[in-house]
């Protein structure tokens, strides 16, 4: 039977893995994609203005 400390350690490791292993990289990926989209949209707007001109 696991002791309380071992149980706490187990859940700490699981939550840390979920947080640092899955959630944070996913957030970073989303931020990078949003940034890329914003840059592309700026570029597209600029290109559209130049085409219209």
């Amino acid at each position: 039977m696991m002791t309380k400390a071992a149980t706490a350690l187990f859940w700490f490791v699981i939550i840390s893995l979920l947080f640092f292993g899955l959630w944070m990289p996913e957030q970073a990926r989303q931020e990078a994609q949003a940034e890329q989209i914003a840059e592309l949209q700026d570029g597209n707007a600029d290109l559209r203005i130049r085409i219209q001109a």
């Binding site: 989303q30 994609q33 290109l47």
Partner: protein
């Protein structure tokens, strides 16, 4: 605390040799879960020895041996055992025997005091099964709410995972859309650039033609001066300017030598000659003439 779960889940009551569980009162709260620990001293003990060879089937050997040594094959008894000593040749086992009626009496006594029997076990025999086990019923709420908690935690996790995945997928589709828009705009820009280049090329060609037209003899001034010089009496039917030679054919009521003299007086004319006969048309009363004019080179400066 979750519903159905208490801070202290159960209470253990020790029943020793001096206690009479049919009469003793344990100050039990209504509905309290009770684990009854029976002191080995209150039961009948029996020591058995087995050869080492039965070690693999020791539990069966103990059961058979106990049944052989108690009345009615131990129908009214419950027993638990533990290995007391192991030597090279034999295994010594201590067996604790209880009357089933006594265990039922324990349960009844607890029930009478408004408690609920959770387990009855022999104190000190940690590894052997309990004598009475009501945990599936008494611990149901713990398992139920534990499962609900785990389910809720998993649902939360799944919800967050799904929402994150949906957000990522939305961003991905947005990115694909923006990239395709960019490529479309780029294609349009390339087409516009090509069109612009073609227009530039056409303009350059036109410019080249104009330059060619104006090169060497400045054809436009020649045309303008001839237009000014020749009045309405002269009608030009052919005008061919090739290199330094200008071939001029036409009709005139005026004398052709006069026309030739006027043309010769122009600054850019080197010589004027007739390239054929002068024919008189009796019907229109006009002279038909063909002139060959040699031009003088005009300095660009």
């Amino acid at each position: 605390m979750l519903p159905g779960i208490r801070r202290r889940w159960s209470r253990t009551i020790f029943v020793g040799p001096n206690s009479d569980f049919t009469k003793d009162r344990f100050d039990i709260a209504k509905g309290e879960l009770i684990d009854v620990a029976l002191d080995p001293a209150i039961c009948l003990k029996r020591s058995l020895s087995f050869p080492k060879a039965v070690q693999q089937n020791l539990a069966k050997a103990v059961d058979v041996s106990v049944k052989q040594t108690v009345p009615e094959n131990g129908k009214d008894l419950v027993w638990r055992w533990k290995v007391r000593k192991k030597t090279k040749s034999e295994i010594q086992v201590e067996v604790y025997l209880f009357k089933k009626a006594d265990l039922v009496a324990v349960g009844r006594s607890i029930s009478e005091q408004k408690g609920i029997v959770r387990t009855v076990f022999v104190d000190g025999l940690k590894n052997s099964p309990v004598l009475i086990d009501n945990r599936p019923k008494s611990d149901f709420s713990v398992k139920f709410w534990g499962a609900i908690t785990v389910l809720a935690a998993l649902s939360c996790l799944a919800f967050f995972a799904i929402s994150e995945a949906r957000q990522t997928s939305e961003l991905k589709s947005n990115l694909v859309e923006t990239v395709s828009e960019q490529s479309e705009l780029s294609e349009r820009a390339v087409l516009l650039r090509q069109k612009l280049d073609q227009e530039d090329e056409a303009f350059a060609l036109l410019n080249g033609d104009l330059s060619l037209f104006e090169a060497e003899y400045q054809r436009l001034p020649i045309l303008l001066e001839l237009t000014e010089l020749l009045d309405d009496n002269v009608w030009i039917s052919e005008f061919a300017l090739i290199g330094a030679n200008l071939r001029l054919s036409g009709f005139s009521t005026q004398d052709v030598p006069e026309i030739m003299a006027e043309i010769r007086a122009l600054s850019w004319v080197s010589s004027v000659s007739l390239s054929g006969q002068i024919n008189f048309d009796a019907i229109s009363r006009q002279n038909r003439f063909d002139l060959l004019i040699t031009l003088e080179a005009i300095n660009e400066s």
